[in-house]
């Protein structure tokens, strides 16, 4: 194990989160089994009081989950100097079998934890705990994923050694590894960009349409998910190349480095934030029928949609500016 401050922070933080999650899970199970708002029993009133503690614990744990995704990537980037062959986080994560699985699980947990936090926020606006059982069920689904993340991350950090020879991102994300549209010619590059911009235009369009008309929530959420996937492919495909000004380099991690003004953090924060908010608009749709939420939910969903659209726009603007300012010309090569 490498005793780096951020490694220790992630390690200790994940253990604390695990403790908080397990403690909360026992009450979440009890709530799923025994919750009955019509009852005035001592157990029910005790559970009602406990929900404040549990919701707060989970909210802090999931808040840490959001931060820990970026801290993990930052840590991997910081550690690359310890490994022979590593040039950025890509190499550090490749140093053993647990680096990339941890990253993937962290990404999934990031999206799910963010969505849970929005669900929790909405539940707290209702006077009769309208989403208590729903959010407990959702939380219990997340528990195994959080535990898996803790295990994978601990395995990654505990089994890592500075003596390891790893691969650099040039090898891991080369044109050979990623047969992406930009590597296959002019038309493909244009097509990739067209797919990216059309998807994002569609996403922002449906987002603003929902904001103005209050219709198309599910469509907006579906398109947000699609925009996330297309954007990730676009980052690998051509956005990274434009930023590095190197057509053969597709690393999604080097953008997090000082040489590129840490722009990667801005790109990923806006993209992930927009996706979470976009997904939440559709997720909240079935709860509009609940009496205590029927008044507040439509306006809240509109706020989510417009914020998500704005973040997608900021994300698009950042990458577009970098593409326009780049000296690289992909088309025709």
């Amino acid at each position: 194990m490498i005793f780096h401050p951020t490694v220790m922070a992630l390690f200790v933080g994940s253990l604390l989160v695990t403790f908080m999650i397990l403690y909360s899970a026992s009450y979440a199970l009890l709530i799923l089994r025994k919750w009955d708002l019509q009852s005035g029993s001592e157990l029910q009133l005790n559970l009602e009081r406990k929900t404040y503690l549990i919701s707060t614990l989970i909210a802090y744990a999931f808040g840490f989950e959001l931060l820990s995704f970026f801290l993990y990537v930052f840590t991997a980037d910081q550690m690359h100097t310890f490994f022979v062959g590593a040039m950025c986080a890509a190499g550090s994560l490749y140093a053993n079998d647990y680096g990339y699985p941890t990253l993937i699980v962290k990404l999934v947990n990031f999206l799910l934890a963010g969505t849970w936090l929005i669900l929790n926020y909405v539940d707290n606006r209702g006077y009769d705990y309208p989403l208590m059982k729903t959010k407990c069920f959702f939380f219990l689904l997340l528990v195994p994923l959080i535990l898996l993340e803790t295990f994978l991350q601990a395995s990654y950090f505990l089994r890592i050694s500075p003596n390891i020879i790893t691969s650099c991102c040039g090898t891991l994300f080369s044109a050979d590894t990623f047969a992406l549209p930009t590597d296959t010619g002019f038309l493909s590059s244009i097509r990739a960009k067209a797919a990216f911009y059309v998807t994002l235009l569609l996403t922002v369009g449906t987002g603003f349409f929902f904001f103005l008309k209050g219709k198309g929530a599910y469509l907006f959420s579906a398109v947000s998910a699609l925009a996330f996937a297309v954007s990730v492919v676009a980052i690998f495909s051509f956005i990274s190349s434009y930023i590095y000004e190197l057509p053969t380099h597709h690393c999604p991690f080097c953008v997090l480095q000082k040489e590129y003004g840490y722009i990667g953090y801005l790109i990923y924060v806006t993209l992930l934030g927009a996706t979470i908010l976009g997904l939440s608009v559709g997720l909240l749709m079935p709860f509009r029928k609940i009496g205590s939420l029927s008044e507040i939910l439509p306006s809240f969903q509109r706020k989510l949609a417009v914020t998500s659209s704005a973040l997608f726009l900021v994300f698009t603007a950042i990458v577009t500016v970098r593409i326009l300012l780049s000296d690289l010309i992909l088309e025709g090569y």
Binding site: G40, L45, N124
Partner: protein, 226 residues
């Protein structure tokens, strides 16, 4: 209007000093009437008032206010109900020293975000109504017991609540002032306020203003209310 169903309140539950202050009380309190909870010290009067006034939560049981169940409400909703529905008159007045009577009376209205000038106007009208306008700008430590009591009444009314809760309101007043206080309550009842008092003072529970007396003993209702 206020329905209590099998209310229990246990302090220090599970500990050696566990104490059941209220033990399974079911009660219906009518709107726009004066109800007195009567009983000796330790009978559960104050605890019951604090449960009805949303200042504490029961250990078990449910309370309905205007057909809305309030014991399960999250804290932020309870706060709102406390501010808008109830006006409290405390045994020890609980006025804040160092500031004026008017400033004390205006305090419960500040969190609602209303303009200070309109709160001040409303409070001054109430000072006029209860004949203590000359004392509005006096510091509360300079007031007599009767004057302090009136300031607490103004403070309880500043948010125009529908229910006035008074806990042993005459405990620190002589008979003359206590009768004056009951006169004020009669006026409030005429205005449509629901009055809920805890007292073991005969001046209160034998007053013509009072519609119903609920006898409490050892945390239980003792016999039928009159």
């Amino acid at each position: 209007m206020i329905e209590l169903k099998d209310i229990r309140k246990v302090f220090n539950s599970g500990k050696p000093n566990e104490f059941s202050a209220v033990q399974g009380i079911s009660l219906s309190i009518e709107a726009r009437k004066a109800t007195v909870l009567k009983g000796p010290s330790g009978s559960g009067k104050t605890t019951l008032l604090s449960l009805i006034g949303c200042m504490a939560r029961p250990t078990a049981g449910r309370i309905r206010l205007f057909d809305r169940e309030i014991t399960s409400l999250p804290e932020r909703f309870l706060t709102d109900i406390r501010r808008k529905t109830f006006g409290f008159i405390f045994q020890h007045f609980n006025l804040i020293k160092g500031i004026t009577a008017l400033e004390n009376a205006m305090l419960p209205a500040y969190p609602l975000g209303e303009k200070s000038s309109s709160i001040r106007k409303r409070a001054l009208n109430l000072f006029e109504l209860f004949n203590i306008a000359p004392k509005a700008y006096s510091r509360v430590e300079w007031l007599s017991g009767g004057e302090a009591q009136r300031v607490t009444i103004v403070r309880a009314l500043v948010n125009n609540p529908s229910v006035i809760i008074a806990d042993e309101p005459t405990a620190h007043l002589d008979t003359k002032l206590s009768l004056e206080f009951m006169g004020i309550l009669a006026k409030l009842k005429e205005d449509g306020k629901t009055l809920l008092l805890a007292s073991h003072d005969p001046v209160v529970y034998e007053s013509a203003v009072v519609d119903r007396v609920v006898n409490l003993r050892d945390g239980r209702i003792d016999g039928a209310g009159q």
